[in-house]
Symmetry: C2
Subunit: 487 residues, 2 copies
Amino acid sequence: MNFKGRTVLVFVLLTMVASVLATLVLADRLVLGGLGSGKGLVSALPSGQSQGLTRQEESKLGAVLSLIETKYYKSVDREKVVDGAINGMISALGDPYSSYMEKETAEQFTESIEGSFTGIGAEVMIDNGNITVVSPIKDSPAERAGLMPKDVLVSVNGESLEGLQLNEAVAKIRGPKGTKAKLQIRRSGVAQPISLVLVREDIDVETVYAKMLEGGVGKIEIRQFSMHTGERFLSELEQLEKQGMKGLIIDVRNNPGGVLPVVVSIAQPFVPSGQPIVQVEEKSGTKEQTLSKGTGRKYPVAILINKGSASASEVLAGALKERAGAVVIGETSYGKGTVQVSYNKVLGDGSLVKMTIAKWLTPDGNWVHEKGIKPNVEVSPPDYYSAPRLSKTKVLTKDMLSEEVRSMQLMLGGLGYKVDRKDGYFSKDTETALRSFQTNQGLPVTGKLDRTSAEKLEQQLIEFVRDEDNDIQLIRAIEEVKGKIGH
Amino acid sequence: MNFKGRTVLVFVLLTMVASVLATLVLADRLVLGGLGSGKGLVSALPSGQSQGLTRQEESKLGAVLSLIETKYYKSVDREKVVDGAINGMISALGDPYSSYMEKETAEQFTESIEGSFTGIGAEVMIDNGNITVVSPIKDSPAERAGLMPKDVLVSVNGESLEGLQLNEAVAKIRGPKGTKAKLQIRRSGVAQPISLVLVREDIDVETVYAKMLEGGVGKIEIRQFSMHTGERFLSELEQLEKQGMKGLIIDVRNNPGGVLPVVVSIAQPFVPSGQPIVQVEEKSGTKEQTLSKGTGRKYPVAILINKGSASASEVLAGALKERAGAVVIGETSYGKGTVQVSYNKVLGDGSLVKMTIAKWLTPDGNWVHEKGIKPNVEVSPPDYYSAPRLSKTKVLTKDMLSEEVRSMQLMLGGLGYKVDRKDGYFSKDTETALRSFQTNQGLPVTGKLDRTSAEKLEQQLIEFVRDEDNDIQLIRAIEEVKGKIGH
């Protein structure tokens, strides 16, 4: 089970990325590898003993814990209070990228960094309120059991999935390796529900999607920089080059980041040997450059970014822009210029601390933190990308005003219907546009947005957005690359 | 310097109370006094030694602190990190009324509970962006130096107050006892700025305002239950009774609470001897009743509450409603049914922990937490109480829609102008109402809300709200009390 970036994107129609997702990690065991000589990054790890607290600090923390245990008006879970203390220490740093994770969250984080998890291997989304299969992952239990696109998952091991949020449903479908997931599914054209029993196994999340577009322009989309993303990228790149690719577009829109050595390995082929890919600056001010061992490429390269491109994505964009002559297209990126290490061994109980240990700078020494990387060619996303979903609980009619009316106006506008305002006031013109939409879709022409019209409107917009031919940022990137082929 | 509840209320036109303000405190040194026998509340305080932390907990907290000191990419203030740990432990309780305060905040909190502070003794507000004197407190440095209502404070000790928020300005005006505040003031009708030098001293904040209304109905407003509030209330009550009061209204609207023994002393005269005023229930489930030693009163009593009446205000309303036959008028109260103790001695460095140690219940055993006290007579505040202030940075014109338009509509409606909608859409009718307002005020009749019109509108509404004759909750309370006089 996984979410393909684009599907989720399209579905929620929002391009924001939560800051907690923006990661650039040097995992604990990676400290000795990757990133140049690793100097400084290896220096004395804390021993795990309480050398950290002075007697006075111990005494104060102990007094508060005693107060809580003896005086508070409810019983308390002591472990939660101690976890609270650690959370509090980390949040006192005021750094949104440093965090403490207790065991369970730590496991999810590690899975996400590793780009693999245990499950059944189907990408799902919510469609009309149903948990619906987008596609089974190749050679996964889901594929082998015959799960098909558009199948609706009704229940797992007897637990209904009805009315659940996507992440709640996914939590029920996932489980430890070797355990069984008994699925009830509904398939269009089949009257009776179908039962399937799948055994969960390790699933690698696909993070790289490559494609040859017409005119010899290759496109590689990177959704996240997980452990295996580097190898996957290099293999797809080789494939495209073998097919005679004349220009390349790398798409890191909404890519929140990942592992630093992985992005370095991806930048390497494009940056000529001896040139810096990234610089890392520690508290002491010492800067350490990671130099390329690559050869550079002769064909033109473009990189697509947006405000959801963070961290490792920005490392890549910075390196390709400054040292590989790539053109950067889209919106200014997220702006996250720090490197984290996840420390799990020192805590000894499965929990971990992810801590910011350095800034990273572009080859030219720019710190993009809270600024982001500016594209060479600015292409904003269409306004309907920012339309929140319709709630469908209330019929929208003329003269109303609300956020929902605004969403409807943005969606109608996105589909080419003329609306005079997109500020949430249901004007006469808005009504006319809605009537045209209803006419074209064969719906009752009421000029009111009821549940049926709202669902149709969303569905049409989703189809529209999914179609690459409507991706104005990609279209511009293709133009740019084509314009440079052969020059 | 203090804020009179009503002035601040009127000015911001909002009646919300922040949960951090809602207090019901048994201060550390009060533990042995007040509230019945104090059983349980006295039981073993933690000794201040680190008995609280196990070795494993010490080791984990120490490891994280070491990581922060050795690995984090910036230098850190160790004290802040330890404070963070304590904040984290307390917030793990999930109780908004338990909190840790470092030294400076602890002092402010203590001042607020004691109802006194050191300053110059002038009530100020923001008027047209200026820090303006509402009135000097009787026998304060401000009064003796001749500070007058409507004086604008320009600077303090050379520091300009221009453009500051009210609390920022107050922080500059306040200061330790015996220090000098050199004020530059602007007085209407005086061309040159006036300089005054005041010596700051201890100022008691007035928390009780009493008044005899026509028809022998007394009104006592309690703004907060501070240390001296009990004596002040009883003395005002005695005065009114001497004047032959026939009925009493106690107004605790927007009163966030205060000290439990104080509210008990205020309820006492009205609750007949031997009847419970409040019950306190600890973690163990033991309930302790505080019984009245009063005699009760023969005249009718009403108590005015709103959603800003919290904690001690709810203790009073509960006791008077259930055991003194009082009628409760207004809105359902805030709903805060817990008791806090502030522990400062155990921490030994001026910081304190305020912790919820018990629930309190009404005499009949009702726990009002997150429910509030329902009035016998429900009177909602007029809708313009919820109108946010106008920003005045943008001229509002027909066909616009925004929160500001909504504010304007609420304000116009409050002043008696007919508007067809109050949802933020600047309709034709809204324009007509605005034109009438502009005509009546001698302003240019544009139908557009520019800065001048906006300031006039706010000013008119503030005057309207300040006038007791427009206080519909009070008017209803007077009717109720009058209806019962002599029965």
